[in-house]
Symmetry: C2
Subunit: 404 residues, 2 copies
């Protein structure tokens, strides 16, 4: 029977993975590098911090001068200089002396500790110190973060805030990043129209236009959107022209496992259809082809099925195409009710997390957009598991985990 050609989810992912090429790179200013993928191992030009510096506002001292002192038995030092942030002291501190110092300023020569302002009392150039310090106290030593020549950031890391910070601190005003893949998206369907207040005849609103565009953007890739009626010649022309100047193609609609599938037939004519049908619910009519060395993802026309197929098969691929290998964070929750499933099929069940429980939504149809809006996660039931009992532990993929 026709079900025999449905392949397991993991097999489909492997087939897709083999068709992805290493992306090319470009240089961007660090101001524009946020959420780009670092393409080179970054070795520091600089020591960080570049010098021993004060971690507090206070006074640089010799720790030995304070040994044994306290509020009841303060020591007296002589203030010989003051150092603001960005300044250096010419003074070399000697026994019995102190230098007023701002947070972040370089420790003067001879000093080995900083006493916090709160433990001191200054009168003229006389400083009372009401505590005992150990050498190194309140000092951030030079190179405690990293040294010149250190590897500070690996290739393949997403440049989020901490990564930008470390690249800047290593002395770089730019980053070498992977190019963002350009993704052509054809939403097929003669019935589809852009949003309007009233529909005529068999018209249906093209909501896939908005979901696919934003989902590609959520993968940090650059979408270009097209619409086609269900006509093989038109779809074929679009395939050809889009594949010329895009790194990948995504389609929605026309993938049901039957005769007369416009999109999959076109793909078969132009290249190799490597997947047509995956044992997943929702979304089993997922298809995938390689055409002119480029990946072509053929998704269902039903909005929810298309979104799930995107999350399972496309998202990871678009991230890999820009050098980013992201493992979504899976968590464990107790099922709030029994969930039936079928052996040999992977289920992605729209659900809501409720504290330590997770509740599968009751809505079934793969066209029900409301179910995506009302859910915040997928319960994943792997193919070797036949449903989940109430209260049983299950694997949950929060939508939040999917964000790059």
């Amino acid at each position: 029977m026709f079900l025999s050609k449905f392949i397991p989810v993991e097999d489909a992912k492997k087939i897709i993975s083999r068709c992805l090429r290493e992306p090319s790179t470009e240089e961007v200013g660090l101001e524009g590098a946020y959420r780009r993928v670092n393409a080179l191992n970054v070795y520091s030009y600089l020591d960080s911090p570049p010098f021993d510096r004060s971690a507090m506002d206070g006074y640089a001292v010799l720790a030995e001068d304070t040994f044994g002192h306290s509020a009841n038995n303060p020591t007296q030092l002589k203030v010989v200089d003051g150092i603001g942030a960005g300044e250096e002291s010419k003074v070399e501190l000697k026994e019995g002396e102190a230098v007023r110092i701002a947070t972040g300023a370089p420790l003067p020569a001879g000093a080995n500790a900083v006493v916090m302002e709160e433990y001191t009392y200054q009168d003229g150039d006389i400083l009372k110190v009401e505590t005992s310090l150990v050498p190194g106290e309140n000092v951030s030593p030079a190179r405690e973060d990293f040294s010149k020549g250190d590897l500070v950031l690996d290739k393949g890391k997403l440049l989020n805030s901490p990564e930008l910070s470390i690249v800047a601190s290593a002395g770089f005003d730019h980053a070498t990043v992977f190019r963002k893949p350009k993704i052509g998206v054809i939403v097929t369907g003669s019935e589809l129209v852009m949003p309007k207040n009233e529909l005529e005849g068999a018209e249906v609103i093209n909501s896939n236009h908005f979901t696919m565009k934003s989902m590609v953007e959520s993968c940090l890739a650059v979408p270009e959107m097209f619409h086609s009626i269900d006509d093989a010649d038109l779809v074929k022309d679009m395939f050809k022209s889009i594949l010329k100047d895009h790194n990948a193609l995504i389609t929605t609609g026309g993938t049901a496992i039957s005769k007369g599938d416009v999109v999959v037939d076109v793909a078969r004519e132009l290249g190799d259809v490597l997947i047509h049908g995956v044992s997943i619910r929702p979304g089993k009519p997922f298809a995938f082809a390689e055409i002119q060395g480029k990946p072509v993802f053929m998704l269902s026309g039903f909005p929810v099925a298309a979104m799930v197929q995107f999350d399972v098969f496309v998202r990871e691929a678009l991230l890999k195409m820009q050098g980013l290998h992201m493992e979504p964070l899976l968590i464990h929750k107790k099922a709030a009710r029994k969930i039936p499933s079928t052996l040999g099929r992977t289920d992605y069940i729209r659900a809501r997390i409720e504290g330590e429980k997770v509740r599968p939504l009751k809505i079934k149809g793969s066209g029900i957009i409301r179910s995506m809006v009302e859910s915040d996660s997928y319960i994943i039931i792997p193919e070797n598991q036949e449903g989940i009992s109430k209260g049983e532990d299950c694997v949950v993929l929060p939508y939040q985990s999917l964000k790059a």
Copy 2:
């Protein structure tokens, strides 16, 4: 002693929350509405789906005609029409008849089920049906998603892909969203310079420029970046000019709990300093003021302390300023080693998730940027807890959960 003025984290959050104003709204085209915050309850113009439609490629039939039939005992029907997507049939289907139908097309009058192509065999206008159907089988009924007039999306929801889909399907080509707050950021520090390969004297690289800019962007707000040396008059002028045309101000540097704090002193002169010191580690010198009715967040100059303060105090506020109430997903993991803490202080410990365990990093200094790059989460030790034993359950906030 000076520690008495440190307030608990939750008290600080409440003070900040009281100073936030309801944002104003604007209308944007749906193409540009991704990751904006929906500002109105959305009621649908339309039914969705707008008509009973076929969920499969196949044949629209009367279920009653198929009762009791199977592969061994097929029934024969007469094919009287064909309906593609976007088409309507003029035919009214009668007993013994079938209409070829595409996925998504409107069911013809008289039909009440669809038989999948795979269970049929067509020869000329004769169709063999090798299965038995129930009424409604393979039909998506009109309004199964929602009806005209239904509330389809609440005010305050972030417009992610499913939300865009439902707004479009409800008949809207635009969305009313909250305006993005404009945030002025002053990085203070006379020692700070933009990234370069070699440093001179007491220069330090201004990495906060890059972290603060990208963190504000990660909250979907619009940053404008400034730098000032540690000079009260300059900082005061900047405060005044930025507060004129921005919704909030963030500063870094100059907040240590001591005399001579340029930034906090300026804030005190221009408005009300409501927080100065929070019992949190790292990040205790956090300060907050209200000036001309606008919130002013004063963060530490140390990169890591500033990032933690941003995550704990600023992020939630910037989201609320655009109408978004986001609860970050907290998870539970077993501590991979003992973690000391102090009663009365909330600790945010940089950590890495390792399967069911979470491992606190050994790096301590609040200037150590590497610790943010190498960690993927915070372990949060609340103020009423005195450390965590090895293997004990602890609350983990994955950085991923913080993303809007």
